[in-house]
């Protein structure tokens, strides 16, 4: 196939093949849909971040001076809803997964390209509904919608927010469905299961959770909406219903949802650590299967959110034990990544800095998760800032660090441009410092008794809260920087070679940026994943010096 030149003399690729709004809004190219998602989730990330900023500003002083209780309730609710359902859950799968899953397995597209586009539209419809809901009053129940407060008492827009999440949930289901079918049916010849990149294994496990978990939150939302509008008594104890049933149904999805956020991030970290240590990942099959194990165990631990809600002691014991069990596959991953580093030729580029950040922060988040799985300690710290700090270490320190690492790692492939490495390393450092300054004080605050979801607090908590707010400001700068230099690099960045990191993996065998159908010839895979020893033995060119290859 000839490679016709684009208007700027560039070769034809997925970005310059067609122009115009219509060519983007009606595209079925998984890479363009990934960019549509990138823009949309970035928008919601900054909306959610704005709420976080207001929360932290309010908590700068013990008194309620910026907002009062009602507004504060809405702020943390909307921060949670936006970040969980409109940023974290779609983030890595819908952006990097969409872009990379077909390329990593040697396919021309996902199995169902039109369903892929449909899932973006569902996300946007859900997002518009959520924006409308927030602009016309919002919700004040916390993102958990606990009944009977949500169905019988609050006057805020529960039904509309619920429907927004319902619609966005279908987007998530369709993405997962598309990935599973693609990974099963679209692999290139020779791309066996044991040669799949761990990013693919992680997305496979994530998809299973999206497919089996999301419908349960959907039906739960239907029940809440029906109960609230028709005043039925399914969850309302006054009418004979069971509020605990709501919590069971809610957490049956919402606990595994945490793994929807963290598993793809683990996949990214596996790719980055192998590449920047120039080694095959230690214990490939253990890392791969631990993703599946996390997905399976993840479905069996939900009631650890309900230890103080009145479930039976025996149920609590079993759920506590299972929650410890889910730490095993997570620890397998951390140990294997560490063992991969051992005697590796480590390079400290920005993606690797994020991967290191992930390793440390995820470990702290995971270990404090074990505190919470322990029945005695959980009673002490339930509904305190300890819990808030714990899940932010997982979701921000883990999932978001991985996402940023992945964005840097694959940015040359996505945009065809190199980002400024110096600025990127600085940003990674700022994010790491800002993150710890924000959330570490919250562990202490929680442990000494500051409850979550209050807009006022006693004087003695102020020092730690000021530290946390200062950290959040630093963190905000850390998040703005990549957005600025990524945009800058799209115009002024150096053109990226096809494989700037000299990385293994089929996605690097395509041009940067790739053509619409990724591969000019269907690849045939004859090598194992992460064959870095082999790659480095065959090339003595330093990755940075490699000349851009022209197709």
């Amino acid at each position: 196939m000839a490679t016709p030149s684009g208007p700027q003399g560039e070769r034809e690729n997925y970005l310059n093949k067609h122009y115009g709004v219509g060519s983007w809004l009606l595209t079925t190219d998984h890479k363009r849909i990934a960019l549509l998602y990138l823009i949309s989730i970035t928008f919601f990330f900054f909306i959610g971040g704005f709420f976080a900023l207001l929360i932290r500003l309010e908590l700068l002083t013990p008194a309620g001076d910026l907002v009062q209780a009602d507004s504060y309730n809405k702020l943390f609710t909307m921060h949670g809803m936006v970040m969980v359902f409109f940023f974290l859950i779609p983030s890595i799968p819908a952006v990097l997964g969409n872009f990379l899953v077909p390329m990593m397995i040697g396919a021309r597209d996902l199995a169902f390209p039109r369903i892929n586009l449909l899932s973006w539209y569902l996300y946007i419809i859900g997002g518009v509904m959520m924006m409308h809901c927030m602009l016309t009053g919002g919700v004040d129940t916390g993102w958990t919608f606990y009944t009977p407060f949500s169905t019988a008492f609050t006057n805020t827009k529960i039904v509309e927010a619920g429907l927004a999440i319902f619609v966005a949930g279908f987007s998530s289901i369709l993405t997962g469905l598309n990935f599973v079918v693609t990974i099963h049916r679209m692999r290139a010849p020779g791309m066996t299961w044991s040669r799949l990149p761990l990013f693919i294994w992680a997305h496979y496990a994530t998809s299973i959770i999206q497919i089996l978990g999301t419908p349960v939150i959907a039906i739960t939302i239907v029940l809440v909406a029906v109960e609230r509008t028709l005043h039925l008594g399914i969850f309302d104890p006054k009418l004979g219903g069971d509020p605990l049933l709501f919590q069971h149904l809610f957490w049956f999805y919402s606990h595994p949802a945490v793994y929807i956020m963290i598993l793809p991030s683990m996949g990214i970290v596996s790719e980055i650590i192998a590449c920047f240590s120039r080694k095959r990942i230690f214990g490939y099959s253990f890392v791969a299967l631990s993703s599946i194990a996390i997905a399976v165990f993840g479905f069996l631990v939900w009631a650890h959110h309900m230890f103080v809600a009145g479930i039976s002691v025996y149920a609590a014991l079993i759920f506590s034990l299972l929650s410890y069990a889910v730490a095993v596959p997570s620890a397998v991953k951390v140990f294997n990544w560490t063992a991969t580093l051992y005697k590796g030729s480590i390079r400290y580029d920005a993606p690797m800095l994020y991967a290191f950040g992930f390793l440390g922060l995820f470990t702290i988040g995971g270990l404090t998760g074990l505190f919470l799985a322990c029945l005695g300690i959980d009673v002490h710290v339930t509904d305190t800032y300890f819990v808030v700090a714990h899940f932010h270490y997982i979701m921000v320190g883990g999932a978001l660090m991985g996402y940023l690492g992945g964005m840097h790692f694959w940015w040359p492939k996505i945009s065809g441009r190199l980002y400024p490495e110096g600025w990127a390393r600085l940003a990674a450092l700022i994010v790491f410092i800002g993150f710890n300054l924000t959330f570490f004080p919250q562990f202490i605050l929680g442990y000494v008794g500051m409850p979550r979801r209050y807009y006022q607090y006693p004087q003695e908590f102020q020092v730690l809260n000021v530290l946390s707010t200062a950290g959040a400001t630093v963190l905000g700068v850390g998040y703005l920087l990549p957005m600025i230099y990524f945009l800058w690099s799209m115009r002024y960045g150096k053109p990226a070679p096809d494989n700037p990191w000299n990385a293994a993996g089929l996605e690097w065998k395509t041009p940067s940026p790739p053509t619409t159908f990724n591969f000019e010839e269907e690849p045939v895979v004859t090598w194992e994943a992460y064959n870095y020893e082999e790659i480095d033995a065959h090339s003595d060119i330093r990755p940075d010096e490699e000349a851009p290859s022209v197709g």
Partner: protein, 243 residues
């Protein structure tokens, strides 16, 4: 698995690459029709798994309240017209048969049978919704629709005729009855939409013995909706009927 041999060329002119085997229904990103069929089928089964989880939440709620309010659920269940429910079960089973006939007709190029079976399937579907409507009307007239005008006073409990069922608990039964059968009916309506589309495709002669994937997928969906009813029928209509 899907490690398909051959077909290494994926140029722009894919029609050439697929050669004589080229099928107008083959989408550009699949190597061959078999791969496309396998993908569609796996995708449909996964979608049905999500549907199982969707209804699963409702069945879970049902089981819990059935155990909590055992006698009240029995009394409430007895007030539903089981004859209509049984008729509907028969109607749906017949419709599943006509779906299978339609697929067989496509496989064996029997155009008249294909179109006839699709029309019959849709007629059964409409009949089901009609009978369901009659049943809802009965419930409405008996004030068994949950809400402000709900009443279930002085209904004896089957096993203890001297005691009355608790109206509040019976209302939970009726809430679940309407939500479960309502969502099921919604799935039937969506099914009718899918079958209208299949009928148009069949009318235009799009299905051949080589290509009838949409029929198979539509059929899987229809059978799934039937199976949900096969579980709903005993749980809602038959739990307290004894000879």
């Amino acid at each position: 698995m899907s490690d398909s041999p051959a077909v290494a060329i994926h140029g722009e002119a894919h029609g050439e690459a697929h050669g004589a085997a080229h099928n107008p229904a083959l989408l550009h990103h699949f190597a061959e029709p078999q791969q496309q069929r396998d993908a569609a089928s796996l995708g449909m089964w996964i979608f049905l798994a999500t549907e199982v989880m969707f209804f699963g939440g409702l069945f879970c709620a049902y089981l819990i309240y059935r155990r909590w309010y055992f006698e009240d659920f029995g009394a409430a269940s007895k007030s539903i017209n089981a004859t209509l429910g049984a008729t509907n079960t028969a109607v749906l089973i017949c419709s599943s048969l006509t779906v299978v006939l339609a697929i067989w007709a496509a496989q064996t190029s029997r155009r008249a049978l294909l179109i006839g079976s699709l029309v019959l399937t849709m007629l059964f579907g409409v009949a089901f919704l009609g009978i369901k409507g009659v049943e809802y009307k009965e419930k409405f007239e008996e004030h068994h629709v949950p809400g402000a005008s709900f009443s279930f006073d002085r209904v004896p409990i089957p096993r203890h005729p001297d005691q009355y069922a608790n109206p509040q608990h019976a209302q939970i039964f009726f809430s679940l009855y309407f939500i479960m059968t309502g969502l099921h009916a919604l799935h039937m309506i969506i099914g009718l939409g899918i079958f209208t589309w299949l009928l148009i495709m069949a009318w235009k002669g799009r299905f051949t013995p080589e290509y009838y994937t949409p029929l198979e997928m539509g059929g899987l969906y229809w059978h799934f909706v039937d199976i949900v009813w096969i579980y709903l029928f005993p749980l809602l209509y038959l739990i307290d009927r004894h000879p």
